[in-house]
Amino acid sequence: MDPLKTLTALIDRPESLSGADRPEGLGRTGMLGYAVGTLSLFAFMRMQSAVPPGVFSFLAVLLFVLAANFFFAGIIHLFMDLTGVQGSASRLFLAFGCSDLLLALLLPLGLLARGGLLNAFVGLCLGFLLVICARVALVRRLYPVSKNKALLSVWLPYFGLSAVFFSAFIYGLAWSIWLLM
């Protein structure tokens, strides 16, 4: 199915996402979303000379985005499952891909940043905030949960990773002190 038609159907009838049958073309649209989102993110970062050029560089970013979203979708689904809420993890992963289409906004924001009209970091934050908001809405469509719980579940992997990095940093610091002592 044409990804545009799938998107139109999802925007006009978002309830179809949680229907008995998976919306037609969701898989293709989700993966296209990841590709377009990553391309936009990559172009934004290239405009700021933050990543090296080349196909392999883009593929590395794409692989990272796919792996991170796969992990995030898994964690959110696990959280929902543990709290007794039923839903589909694969649909969540693909829906996240659709939400990544919003990262297309990074292209005009990047151009504004290049022109000195906007801070690049603010632009990046704006893009990601938009994606987070869309994801909260999508989680609410896929799982019958409150807005707060959806918000918590979307932020949960970020909090988890931050906690892991913070703990590793503190342990590293303590270990360095132990080495010097």
Partner: protein, 342 residues
């Protein structure tokens, strides 16, 4: 009967509404796709311009960055030569072999702010090739830049440590420093008796009679001993020549001192192997004087805190790694300018 068309007409009337809505969504989605394509083209141009600007920009030197805000002042560069000198097969930058020491000497000699170079030596020497690598780099740097080189001896600077120092313009040592040991050594263990006891026999198939020279599994032959002695004599002559040239002494005067014996710093001074007594500060002052920048000069040391941290971590983790054990087992006999007394 009258109500029937009414109920059928109601959904029929509502039918076009979602269709219209869907059509509208599809239309603005298509418009967004077109806008996205245009933005992609614009982004491509912006990226191209950014890349060109980046290529045209001069590469910034890290050393320039690190010295921002610091007042440029003539300085004495210090190179530390600690421990046994070897080529070093490790890719780890903190395991400094002769190559890295030579590179450091080259970098300091090319630094315009460094007016003199001080070699802080605390080494019993090392393999002939690696010692000569440092020696030749000092000679090259001296010839190219005319910067004075000063050697400073701490606890030990014997054999290869002294060989390196002999290329310097001035040698400063502590009265109690152990130095000298001018000579060459090639040692090999003989496990023949042990192998016979445990019933192990080694067979070597070789292309020539000297191919397994220095083998620890058998007694050394007279021919091999003669050949090795020739090799050692040649390396010894090179050592004596280097000392004679560096210390501006006739070879005939160096040879009696170069029988492998060690000297204290004070004895070495009396024999002309060392110029003056003093500590690190004295050596720095002497380097400053030679360079014409006076006493207590600014010192440029290796400021690599990351390397130092990694070295610390590595030294703590070494007992867990098999590398240290493998290094000990695989240690092959080699020709060395080294003193084994410490």
């Amino acid at each position: 009967m009258e109500e029937q068309p009414k109920t059928e007409a109601a959904p029929a009337a509502e039918q076009p509404k979602p269709a219209q809505r869907g059509g509208g969504t599809a239309a603005w989605l298509k418009a967004l796709v077109v806008l996205y394509a245009l933005a992609l083209v614009a982004a491509g141009i912006a990226i191209g311009k950014a890349d060109i600007a980046r290529k045209n920009r001069k590469d910034m030197d890290i050393s320039e960055l690190s010295s921002i805000g610091k007042k440029k002042k003539p300085a004495v560069g210090v190179v530390e030569i600690y421990g046994a000198i070897s080529q070093g097969a490790s890719s780890r930058s903190w395991e400094r072999g002769s190559g890295q020491i030579a590179k450091r000497i080259q970098a300091l000699s090319e630094d315009k702010d460094v007016k003199a170079i001080l070699l802080d030596i605390n080494s019993p020497g090392g393999s002939v090739g690696s010692v000569q690598e440092i020696y030749s780099e000092i000679k090259r740097a001296k010839a190219a830049t005319k910067k004075p080189f000063v050697a400073r001896f701490g606890e030990v600077s014997a054999s290869g440590g002294y060989y390196v120092a002999s290329a310097c313009d001035l040698i400063v040592a502590q009265p109690g420093t152990i130095t000298g040991s001018i000579g060459v050594i090639f040692s090999v263990s003989n496990f023949d008796g042990l192998m016979k006891k445990v019933g192990v026999k080694n067979e070597a198939i070789k292309s020539g009679k000297f191919k397994d020279i220095g083998s620890p599994t058998r007694e050394m032959t007279a021919d091999e001993r003669k050949l090795l002695q020739g090799l050692i004599d040649d390396s010894y002559e090179q050592f004596v020549a280097a000392v004679a040239e560096g210390r501006r002494m006739p070879v005939e005067k160096v040879k009696p001192l170069a029988d492998g014996r060690i000297y204290s710093g004070r004895q070495a001074r009396e024999l002309g192997l060392v110029d003056r007594m003093g500590d690190l500060q004295d050596a720095l002052d002497a380097a400053g004087e030679l360079a014409g920048i006076g006493h207590n000069p600014r010192v440029v040391r290796e400021s690599a805190p990351f390397d130092q941290l990694m070295s610390l971590v590595d030294s703590k983790l070494q007992p867990f790694g098999p590398a240290s054990m493998a290094q000990k087992i695989e240690a092959a006999p080699s020709l060395e300018y080294r003193w084994y007394g410490n």
